[in-house]
Each structure stands twice: as structure tokens, then as C-alpha cells.
Symmetry: C2
């Protein structure tokens, strides 16, 4: 049985990312958004949506660039804080003791403590209503060496311990459910050792 709800944006889970902005230390700010996502693979385009009255809005509109910093569990409390407090009244890098690091293509700092940072250049601002969407191109990605597997050279997203947001709460991504494509994988012969977990007997 279903019940109707007031139309609303109930897409979950969402990423929780810390967006850094500003090109001079006086201007630097951090805001946290869930209205963020990937729009296009090639060119690599993403977006963030902000309220025009937010402190970061003017900074990003002025510089037409920002950094998306992924949030690990140990950064979750500061991510929450940066989403609630305004940069009008707080120097957020100072208050959080997070470290502004050097971007390599744009002039906005990354957050050093983040496992992965995307340097973004704004292509277009679309005024939608309560929020305006900043469509941006990813012009560089900085990934923390701690999360690379030395043997495979792969970025180990598991180790980064990212958090997701759903309906007012932050969660860890812990239990692995499957990998992309697992539903169509051919079972190989003689692979009993990789075998499925069985349900306990009832």
C-alpha cells in the first residue's frame, strides 16, 4: 500500500560534500551541500545548487570556480557544521582547523583533509527558484595518496570511508552489496571457494 505525499525532492541517499570557494584568504569559505551531482561524463560536468542568499553564492558567482571535497566519516561533524553556520559570521577554515590546500588548475583552495577534491570551473548559472544551479566542468581531480593501493594503483574508495545523507541523517557506507555488473556475471566453473553465503538454516 502506498500513500501520496506532498511533491518534494526525496531522492536519497545523496552525497554530502564540502564546497570550498574564494580565491583570497579573506574570501575563503566552506559550505556543505547535498544538492550536488554528476550531469555528464564527457565533458565531465557536475553541479551544485545554492540559495542566492547564501554567503558562498556571491563568492562563487564572482570567481566562477569552486572545489567539491568529498567527506569522510572523520570530517562528518565539520561538514554538518559548515552546512549550518554562515561564512558571514565565521572564518570556517580557522574555526574547523581544516587546511586550505593548493589547487593545481584553479585559484580556489582544496580542503587538504578530504580524500578526493574536484576543481570545478562554472560554465553557467541557472536560476531555478529557491536554489540556483551552478553547472561546472571538472578541470582537475586531486586524490589523497593514502587511498591508493600500491600494488594495483587503484583508488580504494572503501578506505576513504565516505558518508551519505538520507532524510536528515548521515550514514557510513559499510556493507558491500555488489559491484557494478554483478547481476550479469557469468558464474565460472570450479569457483566454490568464492561461493555465496548461504542463509542460516531455519
Amino acid at each position: 500500500m502506498k500513500q501520496d505525499w506532498k511533491p518534494g525532492t526525496m531522492i536519497y541517499p545523496l552525497p554530502t560534500v564540502m564546497v570550498s570557494c574564494g580565491t583570497t584568504p579573506e574570501e575563503y569559505n566552506i559550505t556543505t551541500v547535498n544538492y550536488v551531482g554528476t550531469l555528464c561524463g564527457n565533458p565531465p560536468l557536475c553541479y551544485i545548487s545554492l540559495k542566492p542568499e547564501s554567503h558562498s553564492y556571491d563568492i562563487i558567482k564572482r570567481n566562477m570556480e569552486f572545489v567539491i571535497n568529498l567527506t569522510s566519516k572523520d570530517l562528518a561533524k565539520w561538514a554538518d557544521w559548515c552546512g549550518i553556520r554562515s561564512g558571514k559570521h565565521n572564518n570556517k577554515f580557522e574555526a574547523t582547523k581544516l587546511t586550505p590546500g593548493k589547487s593545481n588548475v584553479i585559484n580556489t583552495p582544496i580542503i587538504e583533509e578530504s580524500p578526493l577534491s574536484l576543481e570545478c570551473r562554472v560554465k553557467e548559472i541557472v536560476e531555478l527558484g529557491s536554489h540556483h544551479m551552478f553547472i561546472a566542468e571538472v578541470v582537475n581531480v586531486q586524490a589523497d595518496n593514502r587511498f591508493f593501493d600500491v600494488t594495483t594503483g587503484q583508488f580504494e574508495m572503501d578506505k576513504a570511508n565516505l558518508i551519505a545523507f538520507a532524510h536528515g541523517n548521515y550514514y557510513e557506507l559499510t556493507n558491500h552489496v555488489g559491484k557494478f555488473g554483478w547481476s550479469v556475471e557469468k558464474k565460472r566453473p570450479n569457483t566454490s571457494k568464492t561461493g555465496k553465503k548461504r542463509s542460516p538454516k531455519k
Copy 2:
């Protein structure tokens, strides 16, 4: 230490949703996307991005509506399958045994087994490159009664057991990290029973 990566869209975790489309049973299809998110709170706007060569692209462009169905863990394997197989060669509702349910505002079916479905009407299609973005308004939300707490009337997102996608893998959202606003909560006096978990002694 950081290392640069080829610019790419590495925003994680992402939602994994099953998008149903089509307004006649012959046309019905399901595709799975991670390029999905909320754009604006008021009006409630969201988006999905699709490759123009995908089977669902033409169907949605013709009808200018679709449904976003959230994915619980028990639907994960079908979500993966619907994202890999094409509707050109598969009747996906028949193959998955998922049930097309009635939308209340639009003519596209919801997926009955999904905990929460958003009926969406397309406002604009933006051609970005490899993917085109469908900007859509949420015109109705259908939520499964199973996930409402009978005493509070709240939708219990925890019970819906949603999955998230990160870097090629699906995960459950299990460990609760905190609720929105917890970083600025005042500690109330005499609340030792709600107390924080202490770290084990070392």
C-alpha cells in the same frame, strides 16, 4: 600527499535509482541511473542525465515524464541488471517480475516494490555532451506504508534499506553517523541516559 587525476566526475557516493518510463505497456521500460539529484527545493526540481542513444531517452523525450524509484537492498540486483541491459532487447518489467503500479498524477508507472517513488514531469532537456540532462518537476511522491512509523507518522528511511553507489560498487547505508544539525546541538542538562558512547578504555 595528493596526486592529480584526469578530470572526471568522481562525486561519491551517488544515489542508485530505477527510472521507469513509458505510458503504454508496450513502451514501459526501466533504466538505472546514478546521474540523478535534487536541483531546487522550491519548486521541487530534480534531474536525470541519459545518453541520447539509450532506449529510455526517446521514450522520456516523447512523453516528457518519468518516475524515480528509490532502490532498497533487495532490489539492488535488479537495479544493476536494468542499468546494464537495454530495453531494446528486454521487456524489463516482465524479466524482473517488478510490478508496474499506478502513478496518481502522470501516466508512467511507478515500480510497486520501491519504497519511495517520485512522479516527475520534464521541464527542459539540456544537451550537455555524452549525456543530456532532463530537468523535471516532482509532481507527486508515493511512499510505501511499510516504512511509516505508526506512532510518529514519520517515514523511516532507515527501514527502507537504501543503497548508495561509489566508484563501481553498491553499499548499504548502515552505520548511523549523526543527524543533520548534530554539530551545533546544545547538550541538555541531566541527559546522561541519552549519553554519548564512550571510547573503550585503552
